[in-house]
Structures are given as structure tokens and as C-alpha cells.
Symmetry: D2
Subunit: 341 residues, 4 copies
């Protein structure tokens, strides 16, 4: 099976699998007290600068929800895009676990802009109204677009102006860094991000994400929050070994560049067809396009992908570290034959 | 490093690691819609009988907390041993996620008895008091003892008498089955268990536990609860492949028998020493013993294990699938030399 | 002090105060087991028909939040107007207590229409997305408008079509009934409402609201939910006595008609002025109007009221059972003098 | 109806009722912005010293639960008597609203002692275990006994030693002050209490309790917590007026002394009878006694009271501000006739 459904349909990158196998040696202290975990935390600190507290969790929903829990009280609200993963794709995990309200902000190509966010920061001090405390953005966005460092800084400035924290859901942070061609820290800590979900699974890992907290005060209780949030892995070395492989020899970058390049090729191929319209900037590894309605189902049967917006016949095609040119060609050829039919 | 600290200090059993590597092939639908997951759910149904709803989650805290969430409302209480993992080792995950109160019942060697549980089922119908709704037991218990099928049935009868559910934390269920030398279902569904956490990690898996629900009505919303509980893995095939290996060729049993046998040997060795007292029946893979205080620290430095009860100088030594006779001999020899010194 | 700030700036209607004083006699069983409570529950059943379960709580936030708790699981969502009190004026009580997400639906004069609601009922069965389970409407709406029985029925039909419940926040239900000039049940149970918050405080009571549940199955656990929700009053007779007064001799209606009439007069007076624009239909006891910006503050100093929408210079003026024509005249005269100045 | 069931079977003290009627005058700002509320907060500050933040809520469960919420995070635990109202009589409100675990400490006559509490302060820093953060005591205890200032100080010293807060459930604080014959502050703020639930309802009020926080940092978010906790009353003046009456002319003390005296008389009368045993020190307004089993039901039918411990035939008889000597005589006479029969 080969498809463009999601970057989590891919398996595990061979270098990461090797690292897992290598880590499977004798006994090791559990819950993160092993040597590999210590080393990898060091790698993260090298990449992001200090202070930087690093916590591994199981998945993106866990990383986001617990990260938000660390910086909110239950009477707060979190401002995010109407399309944010935390808002529409994580059940009510954020609400149940934090008690907070998520307030959606209209977005442009999945990105929220300071003016639109500012509209939602109101009634501060009024106990009747949820108190805005966090701006949360996704990098890449759910529409595959990337915030520039300046765009992040503008949101961070707004956050600071009002005493809010800036949270970043970096499920596809590597694709963003590759797209921007800057270091991770340029558009995270240096741009004012306070808490970051650093994604692993969508870039070739088997399981595991990291929560990075750049303000030690905010990290103070996170080891309690993680355990309470059911996200503390016992055999931690097997998450850490994956991150070690991902961060070593720029694997994160090689994977991300490849996936992004594949998306460019796919988009280039798609937009040759009349009746196909690329709807969002292809900044990373996702392509959003409107297809003629009648070709969608038969094309899905050949190479699966998801319809994103049924009303618009807009589809989403995700590339990953293991997407091949053959995958793309197969899709484009099938599309051509369907359009010609 | 070799030690008796916990069965989660062990790594991954080679057959399970092979299964993981084998599963790493091409794309697969995420979130459990892959072929391996379907197959493994079938294996569980073969073992436990139908109806049986099977859900994979990340860890034991998740399995227990979400399992309890499925069978409670927030005004309920859960009756469990004073030593229950859900009560003293899972932070306040159960309270936060379910809203329920956990009420501790005095136990004998970690096991709760119907008479003691019955004492706590009171004020039913009184809105001022938490309403007892679940009896939760651990199999093996936290003291390494095993409930016989009849003991489970007696608790189940009590539960049914009062309209309660019976939950089993089976983090070490394989060790229990090996100890009892009966099928899983004999002391679970056939003995009246409604919801079961089936442990994988402590018996040679890398990550992953299963929640088994024998009453379809109780399982009705569990796929929502799992996602909301941040326990739905995207690349599910890598949990499922592990369970497939564990349940195939009786690997679960071979691992458990080995660990249990090692515990027997360890206990036999320990009780030769004057001044060492085995404090709990060695039903499974754990040995609890009182050691002379002055030997504890130096012995830990040689072969690590945890002190369970500081006041009593009671220690816990856990064996696992990869514990060797050399490990045991090394510990016993060091102990001898310390006692002789 | 006399003002149009809110119907909760008023005190207690004399007939209600008399009932309170009268109830203050000897001892009475607490928590609702007294005679007055039993009588008043009968009055509610007379008004609304049976089956009808009646529970008294302290305030509107409690009534709404607990009512929603009775008909949801934590992975659900509640669809309501973008202006709904539960959405913007009750902190995050609904989120914290129920775990649910509140999803805002665009409204027209505060009313949500079936087409707009239908847009939000999607991804049912998808565990990643909050599962819509309740449509919640306010009667009167936060814009002072009233849903006709047919409008309620249309929403109820939509709810039933999708297996959702219909909840009504009736903080100003008496004003709605007076405005529609129909019985309570016409636009509640007979129109398909499942759970109703019946408001007392804003119509002349000192404290106390009622939650009415028309489906006994949904009411099954409400006495537990109320206690857990910190909304069970011990000296219950003092809430019940108020409701008895309110429901006797049509006091609810006299109060509501008076307040509604005062709003009509106020609106009539306001719209005489050029530069003043009534912005919402005056169905009940609230008047929304755009005023010239420069008059707002000085007018507030004379007779206080709240600015509703700062950008639009839209103000809200609420009338209550004790609003007088002199109050209105004083406001209008002051406004005239400010406009002339 | 006259009885000894609970101090909340009583009605409202006439001076308090007068204050309510007097407060019912014209309009007043809602939610605590009225003049009466400001005055009464001043009275509390006079009594307790500054800094002292004062918040009115509806009931004891609300006061306790929200007070605990202000001083905990969801991974904390609260140490309290096995008989604490928060533990056995407030449903799971504390668990649901705070996420914390309540850990019961064995008590002597309802009082917990530092040695017993200290046993439960363990595994601090271990993320697997609920982190003790609060010691909560009831004054009077649920067994009608009173903590001396020195006993409170000893618990406070223990709390400070371990970085815990000291919370006091003062549902019957006036009875305690009357019993000790010292000022409120002697055994609260001056003895190291951080957060206090100051009870009104059980001492002659209709509804309303106060949360007093002596550390402004802990009070910082309480106005948000109160609203979110559904405990913010709109027509606040009607709570405040009651407290004004209660705190004026020592009404709190007159009521409490009377109730305490009645309990003394009742106990004196009871212990004349052979076969009746007073089981707890009668420090305040409650009497606990073992009665011969056969007299309990018929005695309850004459003058109702609750059986506290069915196994022991221990009953609880509560006196209140309006208990009369006739009430006591009637009970004693009936008891005599039953014993003679």
C-alpha cells in the first residue's frame, strides 16, 4: 500500500529503526533516568539553546494538551486557528484536561494574524468571561503553510503585550524548518515561543513527541503533569533512541526536505491539469487542491488521500519521508486517465 | 546494567522486536485501521471469547484510567486495595480524568477480600456520598500475589449484588495466568471481570497495553474516550505487531513462566539466609523480603532493586523475561558476602 | 439607585419576600425533603405536564452547567449561539464541569437557525472530533429576542434527526412566555425541549433557579450531579417558597409583562431621537440601541446601563419587574438634554 | 416540627431576616459591587486582620471545594480526617473540581494529629504519587470536637515544614470560637490557617458562606475560580446583609453560645440514663451518644435525629440557635419513657 493519506501512514525510517534495535540492550532505568534520554536532552538543548526543559510524551495530542496544561489555569482560554488540530482533531482532550475554552480565530491559509487574534483578547479581568492566556499556532499549519519567523514574532509581541503565552504545535516542525531553511530556534524560542510540541511521529518515528519549555518556571510541574496525563513512558529509552537518531546526522532535515520536495513535485504535477487548482501555498509536505468531483473517488481507490473540504471538493495530499517519485507519477497518471475519460 | 528494580527495566523480547521490524513495511492506515490490528483483535477474541471489545493504548496508567472512565460517572467511587497502582502510583490520573474518588480497602498480601470491600459499599443513593460503582483489583497484585479464579468470582458476586462493575488491572496478567496455570479467561471474563487492562510492556513489549471490555454496552464510547484520553496511537500497527508476537507461539506464557521461575529461585536463595524473611507469597515474578538494614544499600549498588517499605526494611525484587540465573547468583553472592562481613 | 444595567440589579418582589418570611417557621428537613419543596414541584408539574423532574439550584450558571452535564459525556460538544451566556458569560464552568467543547453558531438577533446549526453537526462517529450532542438555546436570547414555538420545534426536529438533545437556558423564560402569550409548555416540552433552566432570579427572586428535565432517563443521576456540582442547598425551603410565590397568582406573568411593557415604552421613547437606532427586536425586557458615542458616558452616569458592543456604540438597557415609568422618563430626559447640548 | 437532626433544619435567625428585608431596597450593583458587600468585607477584615481576602459563596461544599482549588494543582493531594465533610459528605465535588486526591488520616474524636498526618506526607517529588499539598481540618470537627489554637498551630507547623497549606472547614466556626472563648483569629490566621471556609448557614443564615484567604497571592485568581465554580451570586447584597447581621452585635456568638449550651444540657440529660453513653467530647453544638438499639427508632419518631454509626448504635444530635429547653426535655422524657417501657 502506497498513498498520500497522511504522514502517519508511513512507517519508521530505517536509521530510526536501527537506533531502536540498538537501544534494546540489557536493563535500563525506566521513566527517563537512562543514559540515552540524558544524551538526547542534551541534543535538544544544543539545538534550541538553554534554558530548555525537554519532556518526551507519546503523541501529539498528549504533547499539546499537556503543554497547554502547564501554562493555563482552568478559567483561561486558548486562542487558536479555527482549523487548529487542538480545536478540531483532538476530541475534547484540551477541554477535559485543562478546563479551558478554546477560542477559534479566523485564519488565512491556516495562519492566524495578530489583528484577528487581538479581537479575541477582551474582557480581561472579568470573571464571567474565559480569560485569554495562550496563543497557540501550528507550524506547519493544518493547511500546510509555514509561519515566517517575523510572523511568529508578531504574535509573540501581541502575546507579551497582554500577558499571554505563545504555544506552538510543531507536529511538522521539521518540515517548517526545512521550508524556511533556518534553525529550529529561529522561529521558536528566538521568536518568542514559550512552549513547543516537537513532533517526531510524522517525520519517521514510530511513536514519541517532545514538549520543550523555554521558561523553567513554566516547566516546574511538568513531570507531574506528564504522569497525571498518562503520557510518561516506562521504557523511555525507546523514545529517546528514536529522537537521537532523528537529531543526529540531520536525519530530521533529510526527511523533511525530501517530503517537502515531493510535495513540490506533486503540486507541480497537479497544477498542469486544467480543472485542478492548488488552493494553499505549498510551503511544506502537504498539497491542498480542488479536483473535479467525479475523479476524486476513483483516484482515491488508486492512491488513497483524504477529502479535506467536501463542499469545495478540496483534497489534502500529504507527502512523507518515504514518498517516492513513482508514487507521485502513479497518482498523476491515474488522474490524467480519469480526466481524459 | 542488570538489576531487579522492575520488569520495565528490561528491554524488548527479540521475537517482539522482530515483529516490529517486520511491520515496518510500506504505508498502513493509521489509528488501528490496518491489517495487523485486525488480526490481533481476532487473537484476543480467540483467547477471551466473545463478545470482547479490544482497544490498544500506550501504557498501564492509560489503560486503567480510561477503563475506569468507561464504567463510571464522575460522582462514583472506585474501591481498590490500599496498595493499588491506580491509588498510589498513577498520580491523580484517575481522579482528574474520571472525577471519581478512589476508596482504599485494607488488603491481605495485596488482595482485597469481599468482607472488607462490602464495608465500603454504603450510603448508596445518598447524593452527599460518592457512589460506589467499581471494584478494581490488580492481577498480580502489587505484592506479587495472585487472585485465584474463585477469589475473583467472590468479588464479582459481590459487585453484581450491588450493581457494581469489576475492573482488573492486569499489568502482570501473563504472570498470573502462568502462576495459576489456567487460561486467561478462567480468571477474567469467566470469573466476572467486566473490564480488563491487559499488560504488554512488563512482559517484553516496548510499549502498549490493551483494554478489553467484555460487555459491548460498556465499550460503546471507548473509542471516543481513548482519543480524548490522549491514548490513541497513530502508527497503531507497531503496537499491534507486538501483541501479535506476544500472543503467538505462547510467547506471553514462555516469558511469564520464565520470570515466575526466576522469582522462585530468587526467593529460595534468599530464604536460606538467616535474617532474611520472605514477606509475601511468591505467586508470580516478584519477591518481597525483609533484609537486614545495613546490607540494603550496598546490595542495591551491586544489583539495583527498590526498597518497598522503609520502615520494615522490606524490599521488592522483580524478575522479568530476561532475568538470568547469573543475575540471581550475583545478587545472592553479594548478599552473602555482605552478611558475612 | 435606579438603573437599566441588568434585571439582577433589582431586589426581591414583595410577594416573594413575604413567602420567604412565612417559610421561616420552626424546623424543616433540609436538602429538599420539606413540604414546601414538594408542593412547588407539583406546581411545576402542573405547568409543564408530566413526566417532569424538577431540581432547584442556586444560579443560572449552575442550572445550565449541570443541565448540560446530565445530557453529555465529556467527549461531546454543545452547539450554541456565539452570544450564548454559556459560551461567553459563565467563565469556563461548562468546559470544566462537563469536559465538553462549546461550539458557537452564528446567530441572527441572537437566535440560531437550523441551517446554521446543521453546518456544525459533522464528523459524527469520528473519535478525533468532538461529538455534537446538544443544541442549546437561550429564551429570551442574549439579544432580548424570543424564539417562537415553531422556531424551537424546527431546532428540536434537527436535534432529533441527529440524536442530539435540545437544551434551553430560560434565565428569562417568563419574559418569553409573556411575550409569546402562550403557556410555558408550548415552547418548551411541547416544542421538543429536553432540559430547561427555569430562571427565577431575574424575575424577582432573591436566589434560585430550577432545572426541569422532561425525560426521566436523563434525570436519573441529576441529584448526584447537583450535589457534586455544589448546587444543593441545605435550607431548601427558602428557594422553594420563592418559587411558590412566583408561580402562584401568576406573579411570574405579572412581573414579566410589566418588564416587557417597560421595555416597549423605553424603546418607543428612544427611537424618537434622531441618531438613536434600536438594533434588535424588542421581544422581551431588553432594549438594544446604538447611541451617539458622546452621550453614552454622561447618560450612564445618570442612569446606569451597560455598553454591549463598544465598536458599534450599541448599548443594552434591561427592564425588570420594578422598572418604573419615572425611570424611563428620567433616562429619556437626560438623553434629550445630552443630544440637545 | 422540632428536631435535633442538623443545624440546617433550623430556619433563619430573626435579626438576619430583618437584615435581608432591609437590604431589599431599590437597585444595587450585582456580583458584589454593592455597598453592603463592601461594608461586610470590612467587618471580616476587622475580625481577622489584614491581609484578608473575602469571597462569599453559596454553600459549604462550594466554599471548601473552591478554597482547595485555589491552593492546589490537579496532581496534588489533600490530607484530611477519615470523617472530613470534604471526604465523605460532598460527593466527589473536590475530586472533580480540583482533580486532587483526598487522603484520609485516622482521627481521634474527629481530630487529626500531626504524627498521623506526617505519615501521609511521603514520596514528595515522585511524579507517580499524588503530591501532598494541603492539610484540611474541620472546626468544629464532624464529631463536634474543637481544635485548640495549639493543636492548629502544631498542624500548621507541620504544613509549613513540608511546604503544604493549611485549610480549615469552618462550617461551625462560630461554635468553635464560642467553645474556645477566643477570637476567630486566634485559632485561624494567628494559628497558621491559610484558607478558611467561614460558615453562615449552620449558624442562622438562609444561605451563604465566606471563603477567607489570608495570603493575597493565594487569593489572586479566586474571583475567577468562584465564577467558574458556579458560586458567584448575582444579587450579592442578600448574602452580605446576612453576614452583616451575623457579625454585628455579636449575633454569631450569641447564636453559637446558645447552641453550645443546649448541647451541654442535652448531654447532661442523656448521660443520666444507664445504657446511654456520650461517645465524643461535647465541645460545641453536637452530641454523639450510644443509645440502646431498641429506643432509637421510636425516639426518632418523636424528635428526629440521625444515626451516625449503625454498627455502634451511635447517634448524632445537633443543637442550633433556636433549640429550646423544651426540645431537650421532650426528647429526654420520651427517652425515659422508652427506657422504662
Amino acid at each position: 500500500m502506497r498513498c498520500f493519506a497522511s504522514d502517519n501512514y508511513s512507517g519508521v525510517h530505517p536509521e530510526i529503526m536501527e537506533a531502536i534495535v540498538r537501544a534494546n540492550h540489557e536493563h535500563a532505568p525506566s521513566y527517563g533516568n537512562d543514559e540515552i534520554t540524558k544524551r538526547v536532552i542534551g541534543l535538544f538543548k544544543d539545538l534550541f539553546g538553554e534554558p530548555c526543559e525537554v519532556f518526551f510524551v507519546y503523541n501529539g495530542t498528549g504533547a499539546n494538551t499537556l503543554g497547554l496544561s502547564a501554562i493555563t489555569r482552568s478559567f483561561n482560554s486558548v486562542l487558536c486557528s479555527e482549523w487548529a488540530h487542538i480545536h478540531v482533531d483532538e476530541s475534547t482532550a484540551p477541554e477535559l484536561f485543562t478546563g479551558c475554552k478554546l477560542i477559534s480565530v479566523p485564519s488565512v491559509h491556516g495562519k492566524i494574524l495578530p489583528e484577528a487574534v487581538r479581537e479575541k483578547i477582551h474582557r480581561i479581568g472579568d470573571p464571567h468571561h474565559p480569560q485569554a492566556k495562550v496563543i497557540s499556532i501550528s507550524q506547519l499549519t493544518e493547511y500546510g503553510t509555514v509561519y515566517t519567523p517575523d510572523e511568529v514574532k508578531a504574535l509573540s509581541a501581541l502575546a507579551k503585550e497582554h500577558g499571554l503565552w505563545l504555544h506552538m504545535d510543531g507536529a511538522r516542525i521539521s518540515n517548517a524548518a526545512a521550508s524556511l531553511n533556518v534553525s529550529f530556534r529561529t522561529f521558536t524560542r528566538d521568536a518568542g515561543v514559550d512552549v513547543l510540541s516537537f513532533g517526531g511521529t510524522k517525520n519517521g518515528m514510530m511513536f514519541g513527541e517532545a514538549v520543550l519549555i523555554f521558561n523553567p518556571e513554566l516547566a516546574r510541574y511538568f513531570h507531574f503533569i506528564r504522569k497525571q496525563g498518562m503520557q510518561l513512558h516506562s521504557k523511555m529509552r525507546f523514545i529517546s533512541a528514536q529522537f537521537e537518531a532523528l537529531l543526529s546526522k540531520d536525519l530530521w532535515k533529510r526527511n523533511a526536505i525530501h517530503a517537502n520536495n515531493m510535495a513540490q513535485k506533486l503540486a507541480a504535477g497537479l497544477q498542469q491539469f486544467p480543472g485542478v487548482k492548488i488552493t494553499q501555498p505549498v510551503d511544506g509536505n502537504g498539497v491542498f487542491a480542488v479536483l473535479p468531483q467525479h475523479v476524486i473517488q476513483p483516484l482515491q481507490q488508486e492512491v488513497f488521500f483524504y477529502v479535506w473540504n467536501e463542499k469545495l471538493n478540496e483534497v489534502r495530499m500529504m507527502c512523507s519521508f518515504d514518498t517516492t517519485e513513482e508514487d507521485i507519477n502513479r497518482l498523476l497518471q491515474k488522474l490524467q486517465s480519469l480526466l481524459n475519460a
